[in-house]
């Protein structure tokens, strides 16, 4: 008789129950006593069905065990193994499925300028790790109105049969080219109406140029706003400084308050870059959420080559995980009482868990999302805008499907050997291309420096998801909609 063995999953406990996160399907199932006992027993090694039934005979009758095994086999928690007791037969590699024709573009990120009025030391666009020389390069410093219009046309054209298009304005400091941003939005609304598509807009800014007329415009046009800010004054001013070294908090904070007071049509989020020197998640969150009044606060460790002064070291990631977990516990407590909590890292991960997306690619870059440089060249995403090596075409002439396909072929998660044994790959798929490029010199590399962190964080979010599913399932309905691509 053939042996039964466990397949790939990650087990976690929440609300007194045992759950399984299945890999690679990304499905979440709760176990009952019998299925839990079977999984536990098979965890000690493969067994024949009859032996298994015999082992568990004191607790469950044979019919129940057999029925449960059938269910576990159905969802691929348990599988029949080759008839050798030494171990599991090697997993059958998943087919590598690369899209056969262009996918509708969902988000176009338009870098309206590559100039910035701040000089944040860690910046991936200006700092030590930049990949495009925007200062001495050939690109214009500001996107022209004409290129912006061509970008809008490109976004609507590449949206193909999708009824919706989204444009994110980015920089440099986006608001340094406010006139072009303004005219681009007007043009986009007009063109979208002509071709019968819905369109919406968002931007990222450092807040220092939020004049009253700008705020008025953003509120009236329902432009989603994300503010890059690192926390209270002492933390913000460590890296987010003007050219003369002066901190930017004193300039930014009053403008943020004015924006939050006026702009109520879209939720406004803060985007925090965490460094070795500014790692105080709870204090940053309290300041931005409670004191300044942001709707959401999202944190991201700084993208950097190893060895930079501000780089987070391995021990630092453990420390960071502890801080994230503490704030995530707050999030759970609030959510159980149906109170809004603004820790967006949890919300985003919960949404991915809820949908159960099993990703072949870490993000939509080069598929549903692309970035445009000031001269109209199209690249994987805004972080690569202007880089010929990562270019796909131009907004004028369109993108090359051959290049896109080659990119999809070489960046599929099945190419990342290290990821094949990781249970978190349906959610991570190797992580940010830009981060990998900065860290390892290749977009194809998996981000091995934060594997433990990703697994630790995903585990925490699974536990929160399980708690919510058991104690406040109605709360999870907000995640029924498909997530939109985050740009940072």
């Amino acid at each position: 008789m053939s042996l039964l063995g466990l397949r790939e999953f990650h087990a976690f406990d929440a609300a007194g129950r045992r759950y399984l996160y299945l890999v690679p399907s990304a499905a979440v199932f709760a176990l009952d006593d019998c299925s839990e006992a079977i999984v536990e027993r098979l965890g000690e090694g493969p067994r024949a069905l009859t032996d298994l039934a015999h082992d568990l005979a004191s607790r469950f009758d044979a019919v129940e065990v057999t029925d449960t095994i059938a269910e576990l086999q159905r969802v691929r928690v348990v599988g029949e193994m080759a008839d050798k007791p030494e171990g599991l037969s090697p997993p059958v590699p998943l087919p590598k499925i690369v899209p056969l024709r262009p996918v509708p573009l969902q988000t176009l990120v338009i870098n309206v300028t590559n100039q910035c009025n701040l000089a944040c030391t860690y910046c991936y666009e200006y700092g030590e790790d930049k990949i495009v020389d925007t200062t001495n390069g050939q690109q214009p410093k500001f996107m022209s109105e004409e290129t912006a219009r061509e970008s809008v046309d490109f976004a609507l054209r590449e949206a193909r049969d999708s009824t919706h298009a989204h444009i994110t304005f980015f920089g440099g400091e986006t608001l340094m080219n406010f006139p072009v941003l303004k005219s681009a939005i007007a043009y986009a609304r007009q063109r979208a109406a002509e071709v019968g598509k819905e369109i919406d807009f968002s931007l990222t800014t450092n807040a220092t140029l939020l004049r009253p007329d700008v705020i008025e415009f953003l509120a009236n046009e329902r432009v989603g706003v994300t503010i890059s800010i690192d926390g209270p004054e002492d933390l913000q001013d460590k890296f987010r400084v003007f050219n003369n070294g002066a901190g930017s908090y004193a300039v930014a904070a009053p403008k943020i308050k004015a924006l939050l007071a006026r702009h109520r049509s879209r939720p406004i989020g803060a985007r925090v870059t965490l460094t070795k020197q500014t790692m105080d998640v709870a204090r940053i969150y309290r300041h931005l959420f409670d004191e300044l009044g942001f709707w959401e606060v999202g944190f991201a460790p700084v993208t950097t080559a190893p060895g930079r002064d501000y780089a987070i070291s391995d021990g630092g990631f453990d420390h960071l995980l502890g801080q994230f977990r503490a704030l995530a516990a707050d999030y759970l407590e609030a959510s159980l009482q149906n109170r809004h909590h603004g820790f967006s890292n949890v919300r985003e991960t919960l949404q991915e868990i809820h949908q159960g997306h099993a990703k072949a690619y870490p993000c939509g870059a080069g598929i549903g999302l692309m970035g445009v440089s000031t001269d109209g060249r199209v690249a994987l995403c805004h972080r690569f805008a202007g880089s010929d090596e990562h270019g796909l075409g131009t907004v004028r002439d369109g993108v090359s499907w051959e290049k896109q396909q080659a990119f999809l072929d070489t960046h599929h998660v099945s190419n990342k050997t290290d990821c094949q044994t990781c249970w978190a790959r349906p959610i991570c798929a190797g992580g940010c291309y830009h981060e990998a490029n900065t860290r390892y010199g290749s977009t194809q590399a998996p981000n091995l420096h934060y594997c433990e962190w990703i697994r630790g964080w995903t585990h925490t979010c699974l536990e929160i998801y399980g708690e919510l599913a058991e104690k406040n399932p109605a709360f999870l309905a907000q995640f029924d909609n498909e997530p939109t691509e985050k740009v940072s």
């Binding site: 399907s25 990304a26 499905a27 979440v28 009952d32 039934a53 019919v63 809820h354 998801y465």
Partner: protein, 113 residues
Amino acid sequence: MKHLTAINRKAARMEEVTKDVVALQGPPQQPEPPHIPNGCSLVFSPGWEADRNGGTAGLCQPVERDLFDCHMGCFWPAQVPDQLNHAPDWTAKCAAAQKDWRKIDLVFPDEKK
């Protein structure tokens, strides 16, 4: 499913598309071989808890089936006629043992010989 509860949307979809349990238990697209129950007293295994698929769907066959299982499927010397030499047609009218077992011929020794 009774023992697993689908929690996220992907799990619910998996539950939906894998409803046909029996079809999923066997390897795909292979015709069913003749039913031979797993284990009888010759092979030293506990016996009849599971059918050939490792499930229970093939269990609970009528006792009449044992006639054939013992007669053809394994060596156990059941008290059935000698089909090779003397009574080749003793089951000719019995297409399905569960239904037609009454039509099995009674076979008596030929007293004239």
